[in-house]
């Protein structure tokens, strides 16, 4: 390392009123490295990176970039210094095209219109160079999450950066997309760029980074070369104790059928068939997983089950009662809970306090409401209880939920849904954005629900999540279930084949394995 590193953040402090988000952070990043940033939910990673890219200004401390001190007033200034960030929740305007988004806020409107052609050419060029497959004339709202993220990354590259910051870029990606992203990061470094990336997935960090820093309680507590550490040590550094990677599971024998779905079909928002005649049952005391590459109908299946998307045909019975065709309000009064896939879109209301997020579906039910009025005493008590039980980092129940870190928002959603004590629990992505320590906690809570005899359906793009707690896994491909597999790591290859829609090959593999056993 030279005398002056590429980037040095010195003694950074950031306070929000009484909340201390950065408590004297020191961080050094070398040129042309991939530097991973780890830490528990609420450790202060996003805040620190928002300071580095000009979104937030520090209360105290200084940044030295390429040998000279840096004072940033806005993200645009950061771009001028060739620092760019891809935020965890995307910041593009949905009903504009890719090219329009790139020039938005940069330069006068007249120039922008004149130069649009040139912009498109440049986007095509860059997209080709990094194999990103971004079309300049596509509208953002027509793109999948993975595509939107490529758009975000290319947007930063388009403005020309030397330092690229990615905040939990893989949280919303499928494993395949994540692999592509990690390969891209390597290409970028080969191209002379420097990358800082935040992740809760230790295997990714081990695979792609050159060095790792771990944050705890608003400070960097540990920095090392990736080659000189291992996941266990990193986990201990983050959480301060050993983390169970494999959870003990009580053997329960499934009871009566709670949810019975028959021949369910439904269309997506564009009116195209998304779920095509699926049938399955979930029994008391079992966790059924749904695996699949995202975009194969899992989202629509989840929405159809809770009445947020009309079913084209089929039946859904909960405790023997037909609920297909009921409104979501009627379904809310049934013993059912739903952890939605996209917390910002559905699961929470960002500007409202924690208390008012905790009552989202029960705002008109006892004990949170009586004679039409909200009972804030009860609500605050309940919120405090959830905060305590799920170790949500929040200063008080009246804090706006948007002030919480991403992972803590997710913890609160999970806490809220589990506390409704439903017979059937629908989970679409359980641990998205949650750190490894909290993942353990959340999974244990879900397993407790199972032991209490709840029926649980867990939809996930993370095979690890499914393997950790499911009793059996259904594999979804193009709106149908291609097969059922036990959560056995030995059957990973078979699941992969099914996820790719290759049923015959999977069958052959399965038979061969059976033959060897026999």
């Amino acid at each position: 390392m030279g005398a002056t590193p590429f980037l040095r953040m010195e003694n950074i402090h950031k306070r929000f009123g009484p909340v201390i988000a950065s408590a004297g952070v020191n961080l050094e990043v070398e040129e042309k490295e991939i530097h991973a940033l780890l830490g528990e939910n609420g450790a202060g990673k996003s805040v620190l990176m928002n300071i580095l890219c000009g979104v937030l200004s520090p209360t105290e401390g200084q940044i030295v970039f390429k040998g000279s001190p840096l004072r940033l007033g806005s993200p645009r200034e950061a771009i001028r210094h060739r620092i760019g960030m891809v935020h965890q929740h995307f910041m593009v305007v949905p009903n504009l095209t890719v090219a329009e988004n790139y020039v938005l806020g940069h330069g006068s409107p007249l120039r922008v219109i004149r130069d649009m052609k040139q912009v498109s050419t440049r986007i095509r060029e860059l997209s080709h160079r990094y194999g990103l497959d971004v079309r300049p004339d596509a509208r953002i709202h027509d793109l999948s999450v993975g595509e939107q993220q490529r758009v975000e990354i290319l947007k930063v590259l388009y403005h020309g950066v030397d330092l690229l910051i990615l905040d939990e870029p893989t949280a919303v990606l499928t494993p395949q997309e994540a692999d592509r992203l990690l390969a891209l990061l390597r290409d970028l470094v080969a191209d002379g760029k420097t990358v800082i990336f935040i992740s809760h997935k230790l295997d990714e960090v081990m695979r792609v980074s050159d060095r790792v820093s771990v944050m705890r309680d608003g400070k960097v507590v540990f920095t090392t070369r990736t080659a000189e550490t291992n996941p266990r040590e990193l986990a201990r550094m983050m959480v301060g104790r050993d983390v169970l990677m494999d959870l003990p599971r009580a053997q329960t024998s499934p009871g009566r059928v709670v949810l019975a779905v028959e021949n369910l079909s439904c269309n997506n928002e564009l009116g195209l068939p998304a779920v095509r005649g699926v049938s399955f049952e979930v029994r008391q005391g079992e966790i059924v997983g749904v695996a699949g590459v995202s975009g194969n109908g899992q989202s629509e299946l989840a929405l159809a089950l809770v009445g947020l998307l009309p079913a084209a045909s089929g039946s859904i019975r909960l405790n023997g009662e037909e609920i297909c065709g009921l409104t979501s309000s009627e379904i809310n009064h049934r013993p059912l809970s739903h952890i939605p896939e996209d917390r910002h879109k559905m699961g929470i209301v960002l500007p409202l306090p924690l208390t008012e997020n905790v009552i989202l579906q029960r705002y008109d039910q006892a004990p949170f409401s009586s004679r039409g009025m909200l009972r804030f005493g009860e609500i605050t008590e309940h919120t405090r209880d959830l905060i305590r039980r799920f170790k949500v980092k929040a200063s008080h129940p009246g804090e706006a939920i948007q002030n919480l870190s991403g992972g803590n928002q997710q913890k609160l959603v999970v806490a809220r849904e589990l506390a409704r004590n439903p017979d059937f629990l629908l989970i679409n992505q359980l641990t998205r954005g949650i750190d490894i320590g909290a993942t353990e906690l959340v999974m244990q809570e879900v397993l407790k629900q199972k032991e209490k005899g709840k029926a649980i359906l867990l939809i996930s793009t993370e095979l690890e999540e499914l393997f950790a707690i499911c009793d059996r896994i259904l594999v979804m491909f193009e709106g149908q279930f291609l097969g059922e597999v036990p959560p056995d790591r030995a059957r990973l290859e078979e699941i992969g084949l099914l996820m790719a829609g290759n049923r015959e090959e999977a069958q052959r593999l399965h038979n061969r394995a059976g033959a060897i056993e026999a």
């Binding site: 201390i20 939990e168 409104t327 939605p340 409202l352 948007q402």
Partner: protein
């Protein structure tokens, strides 16, 4: 993490202190922005007056001493504040639901027409029945007029901004037609309706001034609207629908029903403003019954940051400005345009500070 001070401290006393501290910062934050907006615009106004050869300070003192000269002038301010508060409070509810109702002016006219029609039609009723009846008629007419825009939005996705503006024109022109035709007082030379029957007049509260009980009703309704929005389950649903329709659907709330509810409440409040003008002040329907209260009400709600209790104060402030502008013209010969410009500056700085507050909120990760 070092941020959980209230959670960590075991003593209940410090919990209460923390709570008080938070309540204080909250109030401060709520008041600081509007106060700054008002100060900035007053500064700009003074500058503008100075540039036009007036002494800003003198005018200011003339204006204030004129506005608060005696009971009568104070009563006149409160008389102007009444419709502004009513409309502002209603718009707080609509805006919290993200319904951009620009049609309070038209809804006010609808209320005024209904009040007039009922107020001249039933001789022989006692005041105890007749006054509530004409008020109710005004509120219902305003709600119905607003509900048209709500239904158009729900069934045809028509933007309420456009439809409420169009409904304004219809209501105002229809009123002109009514007072020159069907409702015209045969005995009068000017286009105006017959006078309301005595029993339909709202009681005065400060004789000999014109002040009527409308101001008390407006304040009570502002408090009621606050309780509705922030303390009731139904008001909670209105707010969630306004912030995030997706989350509202997830929570089992009907987006359409809440839109209709919010726009009808704002229409009812504007209709009440019209009813009070007729049954409390003019006792007759005229062509230009409102000097733009419906539009000024938008600024009242914005300055109050969509808080109904705040609208009591911002509504009164705008009434002071309105009275003050008359005095500026009469006693200090400041031209009307200049007065309008100053009012414009107030509104712009309110909006400007609103944007600033929006930008200083936490960016999503």
């Amino acid at each position: 993490m070092a941020n959980i001070d209230s959670e960590r401290s075991p003593s209940a006393g410090s919990d209460i202190l923390n709570g008080l501290g938070r309540a204080f910062t909250k109030t401060w934050q709520a008041v600081a922005m509007p106060a700054a907006a008002v100060l900035v615009s007053m500064g700009c106004g003074a500058l503008l007056l100075a540039l036009n050869g007036f002494n800003g300070w003198d005018i200011f003192t003339v204006m204030l001493s004129g506005v608060f000269q005696d009971t009568r002038s104070i009563a006149e301010v409160l008389l102007k504040a009444t419709p502004l508060i009513l409309i502002g409070v209603g718009l707080c509810v609509a805006f919290r639901c993200s319904i951009w109702n620009i049609g309070a002016e038209g809804q006010l006219y609808a209320g005024a027409v209904a009040t007039t029609a009922v107020g001249i039609a039933f001789p022989g009723l006692t005041s105890w029945i007749y006054v509530p009846l004409v008020i109710l008629a005004g509120a219902l007419a305003g709600a119905a007029w607003a509900a048209i825009a709500g239904l158009l939005k729900i069934y045809f996705r028509a933007s309420e901004i456009v439809t409420t503006i169009m409904l304004n024109y219809i209501a105002i022109i229809a009123t002109s037609w009514l007072v020159t035709g069907p409702l015209k007082d045969a005995a009068a030379a000017y286009p105006q309706s017959a006078r309301l029957l005595r029993e339909a007049w709202m009681p005065k509260i400060l004789p000999p001034t014109r002040l009527h009980i409308g101001i008390l009703i407006a304040i009570a309704l502002a408090i009621a609207a606050y309780i509705f929005l922030f303390r009731s389950s139904a008001g909670y649903a209105v707010r969630v629908v306004g912030i995030s329709p997706h989350a509202a659907r997830y929570a089992g709330m009907s987006v359409s029903r809440n839109i209709l509810l919010a726009i009808s409440i704002s229409g009812a409040m504007a209709g009440l403003a019209g009813a009070f003008e007729i049954a409390g002040v003019t006792f007759r329907l005229y062509q230009n019954i409102s000097p733009g209260y419906g539009f000024e009400g938008i600024a009242v709600a914005l300055l109050a940051n969509n808080n109904p209790v705040g609208a009591i104060f911002s509504g009164t402030l705008f009434a002071v400005l309105r009275s003050g502008s008359e005095i500026m013209q009469i006693n200090a010969q400041v031209p009307q345009v200049l007065v309008s410009v100053i009012q414009g500056i107030v509104i712009l700085s309110v909006v400007g500070f609103g944007v600033y507050r929006f930008r200083s909120a936490r960016p999503s990760e």
